[in-house]
Symmetry: C2
Subunit: 393 residues, 2 copies
């Protein structure tokens, strides 16, 4: 317990990839060799912040240098990067993963997920080639930018054939979170029932599809809203077995319908908290697990003592970043990625509902900034079902 541990990959990458391109070390022993790519620019625009707060007050566009590759690095061109809820919390300073501010780039670069195409490869790099699609190994490296230079070991090559850039750009967070939560907390069997709230969220959409692919039934709770029927239709189209509102979840006839679906549910996935989590617990059977991965209501998770003691409920948290850190040295990540991509290729895992926000390197700074602020506005709006994605052109 007292042995000092190496920094987790999320921090290693944050410490390195964010500005590796601008640290000039004259005493470096590694010769700066590279194979130039026709479209490789010398600078690129990035969305940068140097204090925490509202995105419209702190986010800036900076043009950063993209040096030639060294022996161990690759230069990449981002294709698409989503705006996830955690990215916004990171800007606000309320997220525990805080990429350090580096004065030479004017802060930290926003975004934690995205897919990039390799445009230049260092001579010492094996297994990565120009044209490959890669994703950052860890969060915190800054993905809201058109280009980047990474140490080759800090990117993961994707088997991109038959996979859209939208899937590739969003596969590391939402579908991976759904995958782990469905796999790691109970030994679910085909026919078993899973309950989730915030079912129209990015993770929620993934849960429905993975559960469908693996033969689990899903009870999906969403908030009452004007377009409820349309939303229900969309979630059923993804594979949802039941879609109910928070109010429905408290009704005894709905509880009876849940019972009809299969064995008493033993897994509930919570991204809301407050009463919504309590509602789900009422629908759970004995020995069930409640996994919390978000808290959109900003209310704590409130659970009856009797559920813990007499129903033997266990409540856990899940944080994808922690999982990646804990599994940086085994092959579980590669196996998960491969399984998710296989589902995507066969249309059993579809692109999240999304809007594209076209971020063009040649656009003026003010226009890029306005685009970013508007996109983050949309992403942060209540329980939005549509993922906002920067598309880099």
């Amino acid at each position: 317990m007292m042995i000092p541990r190496p920094p987790p990959p999320s921090l290693r990458v944050a410490l390195r990839a964010g500005w590796s391109s601008i640290v000039v070390s004259p005493s470096s022993c590694i010769p700066a060799t590279h194979r130039a790519h026709s479209s490789s620019p010398t600078t690129y625009p990035a969305l940068v912040y140097d204090k925490y707060g509202r995105h419209d007050e702190i986010l800036k566009v900076a043009h950063l240098p993209l040096p030639p590759v060294s022996a161990t690095t690759v230069n990449v061109k981002f294709l698409a990067s989503p705006i996830n809820p955690a990215d916004i919390n990171q800007l606000q300073g309320t997220y525990p993963l805080k990429p350090p501010f580096n004065p030479t780039i004017g802060g930290a670069i926003g975004g934690n997920e995205g897919v990039a195409e390799v445009i230049s490869v260092g001579d010492g790099v094996r297994g990565i080639h120009v044209g490959d699609w890669v994703i950052p190994v860890a969060s915190g490296s800054g993905t809201w930018r058109t280009h980047a230079q990474y140490e080759a070991e800090d990117v993961l090559k994707l088997e991109s054939e038959g996979v859209s850039k939208i899937i590739a750009a969003t596969i590391s967070v939402n579908p991976s979170t759904a995958y782990r939560m469905l796999k790691d907390f109970d030994n679910l069997q085909p026919g078993d029932v899973v309950i989730q709230n915030g079912a129209n969220s990015g993770v929620g959409q993934s849960v429905i599809q993975l559960a469908k692919a693996w033969g689990f039934r899903t009870v999906n709770i969403v908030r009452q809203r004007p377009d409820l029927d349309e939303l229900k239709h969309q979630l059923h189209a993804l594979g949802a077995d039941m879609v109910i509102t928070e109010e429905d979840a408290r009704r005894t006839d709905v509880a009876a319908q849940v019972k009809q679906l299969g064995p008493p549910p033993r897994l509930a996935l919570n991204c809301v908290g407050g009463k919504s989590a309590t509602n789900m617990v009422r629908l759970l059977g004995h020995d069930a697990h409640l996994v919390t991965y978000g808290g959109m209501s900003k209310e704590p998770v409130t659970l009856p003592t009797s559920a813990f003691i007499f129903k033997n409920l266990s409540a856990h948290g899940f944080w994808m970043t922690r999982w990646y850190d804990a599994h940086s040295h085994d092959d579980q990540r590669a196996r998960m990625l491969s399984a998710l991509l296989a589902l995507a290729r066969t249309a059993r895992l579809r692109e999240p509902w999304h809007d594209l926000n076209s971020f063009r390197a040649e656009d003026p700074v003010d226009r890029l900034r306005e685009l970013a602020v508007t996109a983050i506005d949309k992403a942060g709006r209540g329980f939005g079902s549509r993922k906002q994605i920067f598309e880099f052109e």
Copy 2:
């Protein structure tokens, strides 16, 4: 999941031991043989209830027959039986383990724990002898009575040498709960720190002593009270490292003191709920477990979403009855009992603070009833530190 399971021992015993003595089955193939014991009565007084409610309104004294032993049964004379909080909940009908009411004995017999001396043994019984001390295998059999007849397989023989009847009467619930919670949720090592609230409860006293015996440090939270200094002194005398109030638990200087005790605490034991549980979570380190075994505040367990996600908190329930049911076919119970008795013999596990309530078989019914009502009154009074125990003479 769909395979029908045999009823758990707690129910089996409830279905059998409660009135086995009065069911007369003329077609029984088992001859009614017995070795009479000099002091064996033909009837005995028991505290019986036939509806749920306040103990002073529902509890009655009934004289029930004690038939001679059959080949497979033993007759016993209770020595001492405690009043545990769950016993009172059982009378109120709010406890999930509900011994069925049997009209031939006028309801169900109160009490779930106690120690008895064997006074008569069936010819077919092996390994149990007159004079042995036994405890009921499972809760729900009714222990608030001077005598009982049990199937031999439904009692557990105690190695009683060097153990008081108070220890023996109370070892199956409180010390066993403490034992399991300290052993089963984290792999604690000497020097590790455990936090608990309701630290002066029966379980709390056991937690302090077992932790001391095993080299764990304890942070013990109690409610502010007039005799706080005396209580602190008593808990320190049991082996407590820190004793603090709920108000203290929110102070940053106290949090700093907890940090000085050892590694960040990874186990918190909760019998209160509400804010008290939340206070404990603030003092926990990463990857910690919160185990709830009671809810004295009658408020739900309220936990910050961030603790689940970013501190990787897990919250569980613990119910001794469930554990006994799940381990009725292995030797873990015997090993635990043996370990606890060994600690008791060396004064590392002491009798709980208690009051004896002398329940004499020859006393008039009204007097016995008044004695019981008064004892249960005392047991149910707030966060009482003193266990009320019926002593049978």
